[in-house]
């Protein structure tokens, strides 16, 4: 079907936006935001892969005898992404604290200006 890969396309577009933000913007906080977006798009990719059409969340439900067997979506990507999100926010915090520190040292969080200052010295 035409829309078979729709989720993957969304993931690609989000990833491109994130990547472009990281590469083109000189503001360091904006770069961090782009990085977060990049990360989120990868989460979407993993979770999309784990989905089974007609499946349900991977929590055991009791089925009536004779009823068709319950289909569960794949729990493995969920586990990986679950931890990745929390680790992601921790590393984001680390990056942001570095931004604060850079601002303290250079008085700016703009990459261009920092590079200029380095050239001057």
């Amino acid at each position: 079907m035409f829309f078979d890969q729709f989720n993957y396309w969304i993931f690609i577009v989000l990833l491109m936006i994130g990547l472009y933000t990281v590469m083109s913007r000189t503001n360091l906080v904006k770069k961090m935001i782009g990085l977060s977006m990049f990360q989120t798009s990868v989460f979407l990719f993993y979770i999309s892969m784990g989905k089974i059409t007609g499946g349900t969340a991977p929590i055991v439900v009791e089925t009536a005898i004779g009823a068709p067997e319950t289909v569960y979506s794949n729990p493995l990507p969920h586990v990986l992404i679950l931890t990745a999100i929390v680790v992601g926010v921790a590393t984001t915090a680390l990056g942001l604290s570095l931004v604060v520190r850079i601002n303290e040292t250079f008085g700016t969080i703009n990459e261009d200006e920092i590079l200029e200052m380095e050239d001057d010295t």
């Binding site: 969304i10 989000l14 503001n27 979770i47 784990g50 055991v60 929390v86 261009d112």
Partner: protein, 337 residues
């Protein structure tokens, strides 16, 4: 889905970083909704609490310290755009080879996943497969990730607290006066005058904590677990700090206690693993913790999740304290002048 792209584009184009942060929060929340529709309830839970909650607070904390306006006059960057489009094109080409979305015969569903789905309810006896995979089958991974969170929190503390100490030595005039206007936004922390937030927060906070505990200990049976509970717990304290002020929060839960908790969580996790060795099993082998394997698994998962929850909550709080504490000397400055 299209809303997501619209949101993401706004984040890219908007010049004011506060607005960009808010849009990022909205994108995260939309993402959480999509995760629910993709059956990933645990992940959606985490994304809503972390992406839309904690990380927004962190970004705003940073913006209050560094200023919220992006430099005007961004030049059009051709190089990155071309690179991006190239990467996108390659990925798009790759998706043609991807198995169709939602098909049960995809390779990802045929390798280890059936074992987790079929055997874990019998071996572990925990209905929520995500929890059993997270803390039992992949206990090593989770231990590593908890350690990463721990290390990141330590890193933030080192970077930010070192700065504060050095600042006391330096001349206070080194502060740029132009930035002061932006930092006033943090003096609003713990305002005396806003009655409505005070009342609402007092009503909400107990429920947030009860909810966090429910998520913590009910993670075996429903969506939830240590990671989510830790984040929600931290969110409760952060709400308190935002409304009543940092010093009151630190009176309830001082930074030292947070640091001990941070270490205690990881130690509890590692301790359970070593207890497994001492009782004759492998590292992080829960089967030996109790008389029979299934109840051993139950006990192990409960302890592990508790360790994870403690570490995550303490890490988030420590990071928040570090950011908010950095703003504190500045808020005092107007009094000194």
């Amino acid at each position: 889905m299209l809303l997501l792209i619209a949101g993401a584009l706004t984040v890219l184009t908007v010049r004011n970083l506060f607005v960009a942060t808010m849009m990022l929060g909205i994108v995260s929340f939309l993402m959480a909704l999509i995760f629910v529709s993709l059956d990933a309830v645990d992940v959606a839970f985490t994304e809503a609490a972390v992406g839309a909650g904690i990380s927004t607070v962190l970004y705003i904390g940073t913006l209050a310290l560094v200023g919220a306006q992006e430099k005007p006059g961004i030049k059009f960057a051709a190089g990155p755009l071309v690179t991006c489009l190239a990467v996108g094109a390659v990925l798009f080409y790759a998706t043609n080879q991807m198995p169709p979305y939602g098909n049960a015969d995809n390779p990802i569903h045929t390798h280890v996943a059936p074992r987790y789905i079929d055997v874990s309810p019998i071996e572990i006896g925990v209905p929520n497969m995500v929890t059993s995979v997270l803390s039992s089958y992949r206990g090593y991974d989770t231990f590593g990730e908890t350690t990463v969170v721990f290390t990141a929190a330590i890193g933030v503390l080192l970077i930010l607290s070192q700065l504060r100490r050095r600042k006391e030595d330096e001349d206070e005039d080194a502060e740029k006066p132009a930035r002061k206007g932006l930092r006033v936004s943090l003096t609003g922390l713990g305002s005396q005058h806003d009655l409505v937030p005070h009342v609402v927060a007092k009503l909400l906070i107990p429920f947030i904590f009860v909810f966090a505990l429910y998520v913590q200990f009910h993670g075996d049976y429903g969506p939830g677990g240590g990671f989510q509970a830790g984040v929600i717990f931290a969110a409760g304290f952060i709400l308190y700090a935002l409304i009543f002020g940092l010093q009151y929060t630190q009176k309830v839960l001082s930074s030292t206690v947070v640091l001990y908790l941070l270490a205690a969580g990881v130690l509890l996790y590692g301790g359970v693993g070593i207890a497994g060795i001492l009782l004759g099993g492998n590292f992080l082998d829960y089967n030996v913790l109790s008389e029979n394997a299934v109840s051993g698994q139950h006990l192990g998962i409960l302890l592990i999740e508790f360790g994870v929850g403690t570490t995550v909550a303490a890490a988030m709080l420590a990071i928040f304290y570090a950011f908010a504490g950095r703003a504190e000397p500045v808020t005092k400055m107007p009094d000194q002048e």
